[in-house]
């Protein structure tokens, strides 16, 4: 098993994303991928069920609908769904090669198993798409069943790995792949996503039904009422969400439930959007048998997209300061490395120099930039998204020194500062220089008193992340 101590800081070159925060890259693509993939999975089950209704004479229009919806499903899910999936992988490498490396090392057989499911999905899907019109009913039903189960299988496997990042559970102690896979948030997360699959499939099908124009109004009403069954499990969503929250680490929960404005906003969007869709599905569609026209379905799908998006941001964000909880910080430093980096410095070993070295008037500023690149750039930019300029531009220099030295106290969702006092001062100078508009000359700051003051703050902060740092401090105080 890869021991965290095997991972070196600065192992990989770091690209500059300009004003875009790295996390946004993966979040943005993640929304599309998750939305499309969940639509495709739910769509498979919907087709399967419709095929059964058709073959048993319960729904004479089923066949016609299946042929249309399946086309959309194939065009969207095979092409964009599969490629955004590969895209997620490649983006993860760009954002944090160490994180995806640890995931791949730890769960490679799970991923290899998922790969088999991909094959089943395309084999069954393509066979149905190309030859479905000439296959006997039994085979059609079987193909749709294989397609659906294979699609759900890929969700099942990846869900274990993604939920492990937030709650690795017993894996931390025993490194047992199944302890990590069936971790505390595995089931709530899987059930939640499964419900979403049904909702997206029903909304997608409603859009197709309205767009087809081959059905009479009465037929459309009947079909839409039928498919709305796929939205009913939304009733259970609040319960599953509560379960998920309960299984989350307390600090992550605290953060999304009010600790961070942005996160809380995302939670509200996600919950509000879901409530709206769920309420409409249960009351209007099911109870009152109302008709959902194309515009409403599209609007609801757009809301679902927003809610999915917010959900993905919560998932990505709630882990902070970790990319794998307790094991690896977002900036690819491990908890075990912090103490040694405090001593030896994070810039001591870095094969990758700055690309614009000549632009920096002093060696100290170059060092500061390297510190920023290694420790902060994964979550911050200088003047774009989550900009350090904006966050600390108004602080006094001592305030900056102290708050960065005590980073995990400043905000619990940041990792402890993993460099030495000289590097911290270099970082502060670099940020001030950026804030001043990168002037051609800048004074080196090398006052020994400043350095020893920073050392003191660093010692006070400790090398543990929040909330352990605070707990350790309190224990010390009470002695």
């Amino acid at each position: 098993m890869t021991e965290p101590s095997d991972l070196l800081p600065n192992l990989y070159p770091v690209n500059d994303y300009g004003p875009v925060m790295k996390g946004l890259a993966i979040g943005g693509l993640g929304i599309f991928h998750v939305f499309l993939a969940q639509f495709a999975i739910g769509g498979g089950f919907l087709m399967w069920w419709l095929e059964w209704l058709g073959q048993t004479g319960r729904e004479p229009l089923a066949r016609k609908l299946i042929d249309s919806v399946f086309r959309v499903l194939i065009l969207l899910s095979f092409v964009t769904g599969a490629l955004t999936g590969v895209g997620m992988w490649l983006t993860s490498i760009q954002v944090s090669a160490q994180t995806i490396g640890l995931m791949v090392d730890s769960f490679h057989w799970v991923w290899a198993t998922e790969w088999i499911f991909f094959w089943l999905e395309i084999a069954a899907g393509y066979a149905f798409y190309r030859y479905g019109d000439r296959l006997p009913g039994r085979t059609r039903l079987a193909l749709l069943g294989i397609y659906s189960i294979a699609g759900f299988g890929s969700l099942f496997w990846i869900n274990g790995i993604l939920s492990w990042q937030l709650t690795p559970g017993a894996w931390i102690a025993n490194h047992d792949v199944w302890a990590g896979f069936f971790n505390p948030t595995f089931w709530p997360s899987l059930i939640f996503r499964t419900i979403v699959c049904g909702v997206l499939a029903a909304l997608g099908a409603a859009i197709v039904i309205n767009a087809m124009g081959e059905f009479t109004r009465a037929e459309r009403e009947r079909l839409i009422h039928r498919i709305s069954v796929f939205m009913l499990p939304m009733i259970a969503m609040p319960l599953v969400a509560a379960w998920y929250l309960a299984a989350m680490p307390a600090d992550s929960r605290g953060w999304i439930m009010g600790g961070s404005m942005v996160m809380t906003l995302f939670v509200s969007i996600s919950a509000g959007g879901s409530a709206l869709i769920g309420g409409y599905a249960v009351i209007a569609l099911w109870r009152q048998k109302q008709y959902m026209n194309g515009a409403t379905a599209t609007l609801l799908a757009a809301i679902a997209f927003g809610a999915t998006g917010a959900g993905e941001f919560i998932r990505e964000g709630a882990r902070k300061p970790y990319s794998v909880r307790e094991v690896l910080f977002s900036n690819a430093i491990t908890p075990a490395q912090v103490a040694s980096l405090r001593e030896h410095g994070v810039t001591a070993q870095n094969p990758y120099p700055l690309r614009d070295e000549a632009d920096y008037p002093t060696a100290q500023l170059r060092k500061g930039r390297l510190v920023y690149r290694s420790l902060c750039s994964v979550c911050h930019t200088i003047s774009g998204a989550n900009a350090l300029d904006a966050l600390m531009g108004g602080w006094t220099v001592d305030q900056k020194r102290m708050n960065v030295a005590m980073l995990q106290w400043t905000e619990g969702f940041m990792p402890p500062f993993a460099g030495n006092a000289e590097e911290l001062e270099a970082l502060i100078q670099y940020l001030a220089w950026e804030n001043a508009g990168r002037p051609p000359a800048w004074r080196e700051s090398n006052d020994p008193a400043t350095i020893s003051q920073i050392k003191m703050w660093l010692d006070r902060a400790g090398t543990l992340p929040a909330p352990k740092a605070q707990a350790a401090f309190a224990a010390e105080e009470s002695r």
């Binding site: 098993m1 890869t2 990989y12 070159p13 770091v14 690209n15 065009l75 095979f78 092409v79 964009t80 599969a82 490629l83 590969v86 895209g87 992988w89 490649l90 490498i93 760009q94 090669a97 490396g101 791949v104 090392d105 730890s106 769960f107 490679h108 057989w109 799970v110 991923w111 290899a112 198993t113 790969w115 088999i116 499911f117 991909f118 094959w119 089943l120 395309i122 084999a123 069954a124 393509y126 066979a127 798409y129 190309r130 030859y131 019109d133 000439r134 296959l135 006997p136 085979t139 079987a142 193909l143 294989i146 047992d176 792949v177 199944w178 094969p351 990758y352 120099p353 700055l354 690309r355």
Partner: protein
């Protein structure tokens, strides 16, 4: 003679073997796609300027099956993508990061390529819109070929960057690419020409099975076209490999070091040349000859994939990016179990479809 693989431990060899096996699968589908887009583009352009030309059954089959082939290439690519990250993690990730935009571009490019493929095969416009025939279809066909070639280029550059740890720092500092190096282009050319016989062998089987409603007359025409494509590719392959060996000593050394793998690859070429020459002479897609051509192409792919690894191991051994197995992890039994189930289910699907089709018309032109 040096054996690059001799220095690896059993566990690393095991993962590397899985990499090679799944990579061979990727190469088969990828080469069908690569050559297929070229064939379709050439046919579309020809048709554009010689509208009276008779229908080109080979291009029709390729055009019909490209979306499926690219889906298969992508799906097949995921397994080597997993294993390359296990065995060559640092080198592969570093190359990805150094290529950055050029690397990440493969995704939008592939999405565009696939939708362009659907456009090329769009049906309803066949008889109606002239503009579609004259402009959209040929343009989409050429675009598909260019886009897919870009993906191949990105993989080639990524691979060569991953083999050059000594250059990483400088490449990063000065934002260099390898695109100015002839190695990249010669290697890309090697992949491009090598894809032709693979495509020819697959398309020949499809035509034998009646794809796109091919009849005997179609097959006779196609046998010549396919043999020419394949033979040109096989000869081109030898020329490209010689050229690559001349400019890249590492490739030459790997090919010489792995004499067995190189021998298998060359034997494959010889088999395929024999088979296609006989097809060309007899003008029939004879079963035996197609089996030989297919086996020959597979042998070439397998041999070259092994040589490709020998070259990589030699480049990385002794560096911090030397190949190594991932830490032991549970789940292998699960993978084997599902792999067996998966193979059985896919075999069942193929059988069911084949049976149903045997009862009716063979291959539809839908989809």
């Amino acid at each position: 003679m040096t054996h690059a693989f001799a220095e690896l431990d059993g566990s690393t060899l095991f993962y590397l073997a899985l990499y090679v096996a799944t990579m061979v699968l990727h190469v088969v589908f990828m080469q069908y796609t690569f050559a297929g887009t070229i064939v379709v583009a050439v046919a579309a352009v020809r048709r554009r300027f010689a509208p009276g030309a008779q229908r080109d059954i080979v291009a029709l089959v390729a055009r019909d099956w490209l979306p499926m082939a690219v889906s298969a290439a992508i799906t097949a690519g995921i397994a080597p993508l997993l294993f390359v990250q296990l065995v060559y993690q640092q080198a592969f990730y570093t190359a990805n990061l150094l290529l950055f935009n050029r690397w990440m571009a493969i995704l939008p490019v592939l999405i565009a390529a696939i939708y362009a493929m659907y456009l090329v095969k769009a049906k309803h416009v066949d008889d109606a819109r002239v503009r579609f025939h004259r402009i959209v279809r040929p343009a989409a066909a050429v675009a598909t070929a260019v886009l897919v070639a870009y993906v191949a280029l990105a993989f080639v550059e990524n691979h060569l960057v991953s083999l050059a740890p000594a250059k990483w720092t400088e490449m990063y500092a000065n934002r260099q690419s390898m695109l100015t190096s002839p190695d990249v282009w010669v290697r890309l050319a090697m992949w491009a020409v090598a894809s032709l016989p693979v495509f020819a062998a697959c398309a020949a089987w499809q035509l034998r099975l009646g794809a796109c409603g091919a009849d005997d007359a179609d097959r006779t025409t196609a046998s010549r076209a396919l043999a020419v494509i394949a033979l040109a590719g096989l000869v081109g392959d030898l020329v490209a490999a010689a050229a690559y060996g001349a400019i890249a000593p590492a490739f030459r050394a790997a090919a010489q070091g792995e004499a067995l793998a190189t021998g298998v690859a060359l034997l494959g070429v010889a088999l395929a040349v024999f088979a296609w020459a006989s097809v060309l002479r007899a003008r029939v897609l004879a079963r035996t000859m197609l089996v030989l051509a297919g086996v020959g192409s597979l042998a070439t792919i397998a041999g070259m994939t092994v040589v490709r690894e020998a070259m990589r191991i030699a480049a990385l051994s002794g560096t911090s990016s030397a190949p190594h197995a991932p830490p032991a992890s549970g789940g292998f039994a699960l993978f084997v179990l599902f792999a067996l189930i998966g193979i059985a289910v896919i075999a069942w699907i193929v059988r069911e479809v084949a049976r149903a089709l045997a009862r009716g018309e063979l291959v539809s032109d839908r989809g």
